[in-house]
């Protein structure tokens, strides 16, 4: 699995080489903004002092470049903004505005997900009157935390041309071991220099790059460098890196272990709960469900709290915590139940499977999950979700490199994912068509894998009225849809979400003036997605997760009508997937429609994009297959 992934990644970089054009004349073509220069200078003074200086000049050419006119500097109790200033120039190059530190607004940087954090932000937004305009800024920041050395990512935003960008990292050579991770440098002309105590990079004349439909995120095709040091300081604590083992041991000893003070009463309650269960995974399931019932997600991040979980006793008492707190709390419960479990750090997100970079030993990630080793079937638990079944392979963290923290150790591992066949949606329906074209019947949906997640988030825990409302939106194309009965069941044991609906729709079959009717055979699940045309496609494309839809509909025709003819079966198979549709007549004037779509997961070169579009267009046409009913 891992091997395959790495291989694809390499193949992709080579591809990026062909795609990117670094010739200077074309640099500014179609750009929204031009970074004239951007110099980031980092000076590591000692373990707990880092000075960051940045100077940049950006010319904004149109509205889409306006994000550069917002100057945003985050700070907290661990760092200090020593100086910040900016200047704005109009298109003739006249200075039109000088901005001092006092012109910035001082705002709290707490997001909607967070109850409280001590993060703050200095914020200034220039409101342009005209284009182009140029914003120049410089700032100096002194940071006590040295766990996160600012990375160099010269092409960080879409549609931006870069004339020149430099990076300098200076450090006391005798005191630190430095690691650096370089990505996509070879596909661009990057100047690099590395001498003891000083690392430098420089890039120039980069044309704008934009993300394309189903294409890789900028991060995967643009150059960047990340640096890590072996001895750091984080919110009052000294840390050791250098290897995953060392960093893992430090994390476990200094950040995690001291937070476990689970009350004895809870420990014994847990033990009692699992005393008659011998299988560790069965015990784990009981514990996980107990935790899901007991807790909810609330984020409070103060000081080291931004990096360290809340105490387990506090979570136990308050019944809430953030991802770190809930994960570590679950870990402590698992320990009490005698189940092996490890705190795991990950980059979360369903639409981008971002890896922890294994070649850069540093604190990374933005989320925590729990790892339960289980021979060949390791289980990864999301502890901030109270609905997901035990053992569900959550798309939020699936199929990516993660960092597992262990006592005295730390390891990079890859999370599991479902196969396309496992991301299954099955719909079965039986309907009756009336003489006037109205349709009435019942259907059952059964969803698994990531399709289970979709149904869970849209249909779970709703009252009958709300369920009806959601179902009406979901099946909105059915004319004057009426839902007489509806039931949704989250079957956690089988990791399956079920939906049972009794419905009727008016004018489902449309009448022709000669008395015949036309009827669409795919009643409930028309897969009409076709990615949009990209005649000038530059990058590869990816189907991030595959899936399978299998539908069967039986429709009883009004006795006066019969099908004029039945469409022939169709079977298509290629590297993207499979499509099968069959229509047959059943006794009792009934028609049976069966259709299977399987879409494969995969990354494909850009040349196949048009072929993929054709495949989806063909599917769309077939998904709307109709028959003529005559008297």
């Amino acid at each position: 699995m891992r091997f395959l992934f790495t291989f694809l990644y390499l193949g992709w970089s080579i591809f990026a080489l062909q795609a990117q054009n670094t010739v200077s004349e074309t640099t500014e073509k179609d750009a929204d903004a031009i970074i004239t220069f951007d110099d980031l200078d980092i000076e590591l003074v000692n373990r707990s002092k880092m000075i960051i200086r940045r100077k940049a000049s950006i010319t904004v050419l149109n509205k889409k470049g306006d994000h550069f006119s917002s100057l945003i500097l985050f700070y907290d109790t661990q760092n200090r903004i020593k100086d910040v200033r900016a200047e704005i120039y109009d298109k003739e190059g006249n200075l039109i505005k000088k901005i001092q530190k006092s012109d910035f607004e001082d705002l709290s940087a707490t997001d909607h997900q967070t109850l409280y954090s001590d993060d703050r932000v200095l914020y200034y937004k220039y409101l342009p009157n005209d284009y182009p305009y140029t914003i120049r800024y410089e700032y100096e920041m002194i940071n006590k935390n040295t766990a996160f050395i600012p990375a160099w990512h010269p092409v960080a935003s879409s549609g931006t041309a870069v004339k020149k960008s430099t990076y300098s990292f200076r450090y006391p050579d005798s005191s630190f071991e430095v690691q650096k991770l370089e990505k996509n440098l070879d596909t661009f002309n990057v100047y690099r220099s590395s001498e003891p105590g000083w690392i430098r990079y420089m890039i120039s004349d980069i044309s704008p790059i934009r993300r394309e439909t189903l294409g890789p995120p900028l991060e995967e095709v643009t150059p960047w460098v990340k640096i890590a040091i072996d001895k750091f300081y984080l919110a009052g604590k000294e840390g050791e890196a250098g290897s995953w083992k060392k960093l893992g041991a430090w994390m476990y000893d200094k950040l995690l272990k001291p937070r476990n003070n689970l009350p004895e009463s809870t420990v014994s309650a847990i033990r009692k709960m699992v005393q008659n269960i011998s299988d560790p995974m069965e015990r784990a399931k009981v514990v996980y469900e107990y935790m899901q019932k007991k807790t909810r997600y609330i984020n409070v991040a103060i000081g080291i709290g931004g990096w360290q979980p809340m105490r387990t006793a506090d979570v136990d008492r308050l019944g809430y915590g953030d991802c770190k707190a809930l994960t570590y709390y679950t870990l402590s419960l698992m320990e009490a139940a005698g189940v092996e479990a490890y705190y795991t750090v990950v980059y979360a997100g369903s639409s981008y499977k971002k890896n922890i970079e294994k070649d850069l030993v540093a604190i990374q990630g933005n989320h925590a999950i729990l790892c339960l080793p289980n021979e060949n079937d390791t289980i990864w638990l999301e502890c901030t979700n109270h609905k997901l079944p035990f053992g569900h392979k959550n798309s939020f963290t699936d199929d990516r490199d993660v960092w597992v923290v262990m006592p005295g150790d730390g390891k990079i591992r890859h999370t599991d994912t479902y196969s396309p066949e496992e991301n299954l949606l099955e719909i079965e329906g039986e309907f009756e068509l009336a003489e006037n074209g109205d349709l009435k019947g019942k259907a059952k949906w059964q969803s698994y894998g990531t399709q289970y997640e979709n149904f869970l988030s849209y249909f779970d825990a709703l009252s009958p009225d709300e369920l009806k409302k959601h179902a009406k939106e979901y099946l909105g194309y059915l004319h004057n849809l009426n839902i007489s009965e509806i039931e949704a069941t989250n079957n956690k044991n089988e990791k399956k979400f079920e939906l049972d609906i009794a419905l009727s729709a008016e004018h489902y079959a449309t009448e022709n003036p000669d008395g015949s009717m036309i009827m669409n055979l795919n009643v409930l699940n028309r897969n009409n997605f076709v990615p949009k045309r990209e005649p000038d496609r530059k990058t590869s494309f990816e189907i991030l997760r595959g899936y399978k839809d299998s539908d069967t509909y039986i429709i009883r025709l009004p006795s006066a009508y019969r099908p004029e003819s039945l469409p022939q079966p169709v079977r298509i198979e290629n590297q993207f997937g499979k499509y099968i549709v069959e229509i047959e007549e059943l006794p009792g004037n009934r028609i049976k429609y069966s259709r299977i779509i399987i879409l494969n997961k995969g990354k494909y070169p850009k040349d196949l994009y048009e072929k993929y579009r054709k495949f989806r267009k063909k599917i769309r046409k077939l998904e709307n297959i109709k028959i003529l009913l005559i008297k």
């Binding site: 039109i96 909810r296 308050l318 019944g319 449309t510 709307n624």
Partner: protein
């Protein structure tokens, strides 16, 4: 701009709690309740909410309002957990500040038949310094489980007593029982207004005499006049107690196209009208719309600003030179202001630091922008008047009040008509305003101090007109589509489209239009604000026709047909807001190959909604081997009352059925 009221005597406050709900006395039956009987869809329910508002006095702060809030809430399931998180904003300005004290919270759970209490600890209450205007107190109650009952209470003190916080009578979850008591000293006279779609409880009144001892020392400089105060004294005065009680209030629920549903939430508004002593009126606050107008006209941050012209004269004169008609001047000034003073996204009807300063800085709040606009219009000799607006998010002003408005725009009268202008939105036009402004009526402040209401909604229809010339080849349909937009359709289009390069524009259009490949696209007059936009596409598609047996079935309006009725629910509580009268006309010329016969076409139809609210017409006319399909939808009202909801839903149903009828072709 709410002003502190300082008075030369103080009142001590006695609160009388006569209630059946006591903090801490949660019952087992409340805890064991599994769902709310009268609304099983409720994830949480307010079992009891109480607010007791009284006036306190301190020599340095003057009168301020002391409000005791108490809430008991039942949580039925995980979806209701977020109701256990509480946010209380506190505002501050120039030395005056609101305060929250005595926050207490408890969670109750039933465990093996016993009530388990978990207290909110002090260190779990956070004060977030949001920005220079306000902070937020935040807390979440501990140990929340499905079935938990939670209680919290706190004291809120505010110096801003000109308008009390709305007496809330409805929430997005049901309310089982509610009690609000407001103790109003005889010195204060409030205007009262009800809002909401539910019948509201009447205000029961009670009167008490209160004897207040107070200490006074010095002299107090007050906006109401100079007051001498010395020594100890006692004062007897009457208090009017307003008692509002209600029970079993249903939750308010969202509906599509409903604007701001808070406008329909039940509530009572209190706005200070008069200050009296010994039955004499000492100060009249806004009691009539005329008072509102007069106060604003004299206000240094509003009326006085409109006459400041020095700061822009030199820049504006060249712009105006050579312009003669009012229309020319209006357009030129509107564009001039948009470029000179950018909106900083803060609302407000008062200029923040004066319009000259805003002009110099190049940005400001709504008033900074639009008062500059007004000053310039007047300077150019036009008959321009400010119009106070309450934006959609701000609700509807219920009675003569300044605080009912949060926004100002301009109205220009000429040649017996008028236009409305708003320079905060870059792509606005005369009578084409940003959506936030469309909230029924605005209050015109006239030069002579009188007022008038103006309908904010546009009078002219916004029109979307599409012409498609297409060809069915037997295997595909290809052609050219051209859509022209007018009025309010222009604004939203420009907001989305400007800034995109040619290729991005094509992709954006391609993504918007379902089931066709957009091969080429051109948009004319995108940045030429005074002109209508035309979007032209060259397209091809394999959709919109089916071959069944020896016949072809074509959906003739192609990608312009309506597919789905946006109005799905059977019932409606609120009006439907389109915010403008509008029309959509589609004209398709579809040619078919010579070797096909037209076997059947949909019958023409003309259908009108009652009261001329809407009209739909549709026809298909064959002309040789070409079919001409015409479809027109007209909606004549910006707001459709809920009484017409069923008609509107049916109107859409009819449109959809008709527009999806097929043309039948047969091979020769």
């Amino acid at each position: 701009m709410k002003k502190l009221i300082v008075l030369g005597f103080g009142l001590l406050f006695f609160s009388i709690h006569a209630q059946t709900y006591k903090f801490g006395k949660v019952s087992k039956s409340e805890l064991s309740e599994k769902q709310y009987p009268s609304d099983t869809s409720a994830h949480a329910t307010i079992l009891y909410m109480e607010r007791i508002s009284t006036y306190n006095f301190s020599p340095d702060k003057g009168f301020y309002l002391n409000e005791e809030y108490y809430m008991r809430l039942k949580i039925y399931n995980k979806e209701g957990f977020d109701k256990a998180t509480v946010e209380i904003p506190v505002f501050h300005s120039e030395g005056e500040t609101e305060k929250v004290t005595g926050i207490k919270g408890v969670t109750y759970n039933l465990q093996n038949g016993k009530i388990i209490k978990t207290k909110l600890s002090k260190d779990a209450v956070f004060k977030e310094k949001k920005n220079k205007y306000y902070d937020i107190y935040k807390f979440t109650l501990p140990d929340i489980k499905p079935g938990s009952v939670v209680e919290w209470k706190y004291t809120f003190q505010t110096p801003y007593i000109k308008s009390l916080d709305e007496v809330v009578l409805q929430e997005d979850i049901p309310i089982k029982k509610l009690l609000t008591k407001i103790y109003i000293p005889e010195f204060f006279v409030y205007n009262i207004q009800y809002k909401g779609y539910l019948p509201v409880p009447s205000i029961k009144k009670d009167y008490k005499t209160r004897r207040a001892n107070f200490v006074y020392d010095d002299m107090v400089n007050a906006p109401l006049g100079y007051q001498k105060v010395h020594g100890n004294a006692a004062l007897e005065f009457k208090e009017e107690i307003n008692i509002i009680e209600t029970a079993n209030v249903p939750a308010i629920k969202k509906e599509p196209y409903a604007g701001n549903i808070n406008n329909y939430k039940s509530g009572i508004l209190y706005e200070l009208a008069q200050f009296k002593r010994d039955n004499q009126i000492i100060k009249n606050y806004t009691t009539t719309w005329k008072d509102v107008a007069k106060n604003l006209k004299d206000n240094s941050d509003f009326g006085k600003q409109i006459h400041k012209t020095k700061h822009f004269e030199d820049d504006l004169d060249p712009v105006l030179s050579g312009l003669s008609t009012p229309e020319e001047k209006i357009s030129a000034i509107l564009e001039f202001v948009k470029n000179k003073v950018k909106w900083n996204e803060y609302y407000g009807k008062y200029s923040e630091n004066g319009i000259a300063q805003a002009y110099k800085k190049g940005k400001g709040n709504v008033a900074d922008v639009n008062l500059n606009l007004l000053a310039m219009l007047k300077y150019a000799g036009l008959d321009a008047e400010p119009v106070l607006v309450s934006t959609i998010n701000h609700g509807i002003p219920m009675f003569p009040t300044e605080s009912g408005f949060n926004y100002v725009i301009a109205k220009v009268n000429f040649n017996g008509k008028h236009v409305l202008l708003d320079a905060t939105e870059k792509y606005s036009l005369p009578d084409v305003l940003p959506e936030r402004v469309y909230n029924f009526h605005g209050l015109v402040i006239k030069d002579d101090g009188t007022t008038d209401w103006v309908d904010l909604y546009p009078k002219q229809h916004s029109i979307r007109q599409t012409r498609i010339i297409a060809q069915f080849t037997g295997d595909e349909i290809k052609g050219i589509g051209r859509t022209t937009l007018s009025n309010n359709f222009l604004l939203s289009y420009r907001k989305k489209a400007i800034g995109k390069n040619k290729d991005e524009l094509r992709k954006w259009i391609d993504e918007r239009i379902e089931e066709v490949d957009v091969l080429n696209a051109r948009v004319s007059n995108l940045e030429n604000l005074s002109k209508k936009i035309t979007e032209t596409i060259q397209f091809e598609t394999e959709s919109f026709f089916e071959e069944i047996g020896d016949k072809i079935y074509i959906t003739p309006l192609l990608y312009k047909r309506k597919k789905e009725n946006p109005f799905k629910s059977e019932e409606r509580h609120f009006p439907v807001f389109f915010n403008k009268p509008w029309a959509e006309s589609i004209n398709v010329q579809l040619s078919i190959p010579e070797d096909y016969n037209i076997e059947n076409i949909p019958a023409p139809v003309e259908y009108a909604m009652p009261d001329e609210i809407g009209v739909f017409s549709y026809s298909v006319t064959p002309k040789g081997n070409t079919l001409i399909i015409k479809s027109t939808i007209v909606i004549n009202h910006p707001v459709i009352q809920k009484a017409h909801y069923k008609d509107l839903k049916e109107f859409y149903n009819k449109i959809i059925l008709k527009q999806n009828e097929k043309i039948i072709l047969k091979h020769k």
